[in-house]
Symmetry: C2
Subunit: 315 residues, 2 copies
């Protein structure tokens, strides 16, 4: 029986093994993905994003209770794109989370940044597909939402929940932290703190011009993740967004967008991988870098020449 067949038959040990294969990105991982990919597309993939300190882990911990209470199986992928140099992630929060939900309807996985940008998004997409094929109804992706990584990872989700907290600065700071544009649902967490309502009002005003361009309102909710306050309401809102997507036909759009982003991120990553793995094997690149370092040529003109050499007009 193949690993994927074991996954489908409910063998609990198959899941982490397939995920590891897919994360590693080798041939065995690719074969497993090819085998399970036709089984995917059903799960509700939900991005949970917000700045460090917004309480994402705590909120997800609480949300797992609401989702399990509704009888759904749920998986969490905690992605830490913040440490691309060492590839290390701080796993303490995850371990605590796993201990609290020792239940086979809950699966939790941490992913550190192993490659860069697109590499992380591609690896995350692969893990999403495995969990989707394994029959999880809801897949939560936790990530710091800033930068290219954050946007690419968010684009894998059908629904994006953006967390903000009072006290990380003023309302302007929250907007500057900058993930509002990608949010389908905004949450003011730690809502028992001073300034929560002000932050909520600032967010509501900030998303008004965005809401005008999408179907319906962008809700702003208040939660106190540590006590569970408002968390069931957030789950209701996530479900409502899923129903809205399905009823309006935008669910298929989201699937197409996710596929588009996965392909384009994959192309970028693969090109980058080949460039970074062996720039010294491509003599034109080494020569270009030396010309730029010695001020004989600008990076811009070196890049244009390299692209022409590499693609011969094919792109």
């Amino acid at each position: 029986m193949s690993l994927v067949e074991r996954l489908r038959s409910g063998d609990a040990r198959a899941l982490p093994r397939i995920i590891s294969l897919v994360e590693r990105g080798g041939d065995a991982g690719q074969r497993a993905l090819t085998e399970l990919y036709p089984l995917t597309g059903r799960a509700h993939v939900v991005g949970i994003t917000g700045p460090p300190g917004a309480g994402k882990s705590t909120l997800i911990n609480a949300l797992l209770g609401s989702i399990r209470g509704a009888g759904r199986r749920v998986a969490v992928i905690a992605v830490d794109p913040s440490s691309p140099v060492s590839g290390g992630a701080v796993l303490g929060d995850r371990i605590r989370m796993t201990e609290r939900h020792a239940d086979d309807g809950v699966f939790i996985r941490s992913m550190a940044a192993r490659g860069r940008g697109g590499g992380l998004a591609a690896a995350t997409a692969g893990v999403v597909h495995v969990l989707d094929a394994a029959g999880f109804d809801v897949i939560l992706i936790e990530t710091v939402g800033a930068g290219q990584d954050g946007v690419e990872i968010a684009s894998l989700a059908r629904t994006v929940v953006v967390l903000q907290v009072p006290g990380l600065g003023d309302g302007v700071q929250a907007i500057k932290a900058g993930m509002l544009e990608i949010g389908d649902i905004l949450v003011v967490n730690k809502a028992d703190r001073a300034g929560a309502r002000d932050l909520g009002r600032t967010l509501r005003q900030a998303v008004m011009p965005i809401a005008a361009n999408v179907t319906g309102q962008i809700p702003v909710l208040y939660t106190v993740a540590a006590s569970g306050e408002g968390v069931d309401e957030l789950w209701v809102e996530i479900e409502r967004h899923r129903h809205d997507l399905i009823d309006s036909g935008r669910w298929d759009e989201k699937i197409l967008t996710a596929a588009r982003n996965e392909v384009l991120a994959g192309v970028r990553t693969e090109i980058e991988r080949r460039l970074l793995a062996s720039p010294h094997d491509v003599p034109a690149i080494t020569a270009a870098i030396e010309a730029v370092a010695s001020r004989r040529q600008t990076a811009g003109s070196a890049v244009r020449a390299l692209i022409e050499t590499m693609f011969q007009g094919k792109l």
Copy 2:
């Protein structure tokens, strides 16, 4: 007289015009860069990075005083990679900074994320070159350091200063925020707050294994940017790092690394630009996206086929 000649002759209006041309990235900008590029490589490019709320703008404001006090001309590029969707940056801090230093030895420029990842790094590199050619002794690049953008932008610098503050969480949070690996100098800002010394000790321990791999120690300094405390000492440390680089020959290494990153980021950006600008013009890409969305093919195998088609084995 060309714009670059006017820049060299000290015409103050030439500088912002050339920067705008270079940021726009068109032919005129490329021509200007080509003309001024041989004049570059002299400025001390210093990255100032840290999480939102660490007080980067305030610290830079104070640092401008120390640098001007030492008789150096200084430019600041404030890069906001946090809002890649709308491309908007919150400029209030900058405007206040500019008003305080209405002095032709200080030049301040904000850059929002206009493209994505590498696009921002490439644009920032271009602006660095313009300021370098204009004769600024020190160029400070302010940026949120997380993610690919942050690392790429930091790689433009000869010296990277990483800010942390007590109270954004515990020490683990600071490490998770994850920019320690790229820092040449660490700063605990808002050092009058509770927990500052603990954070400093945590940072010192965290960088010990890193310091073992580089020449010398990685200093951990304490500042209260708002009152100016410790800021002159930071300037002394930045100067010491520059001298260390020159004396040890690592200055040229840094120039080569910056060139390497600029070329590779440029290649990535250009490929991405062509892909994103017109994926529908490349029928193979459109077909791949549809095959992935309909679960007929994994993104991985679609990407491999696309790369082979596009590069024909040249990469």
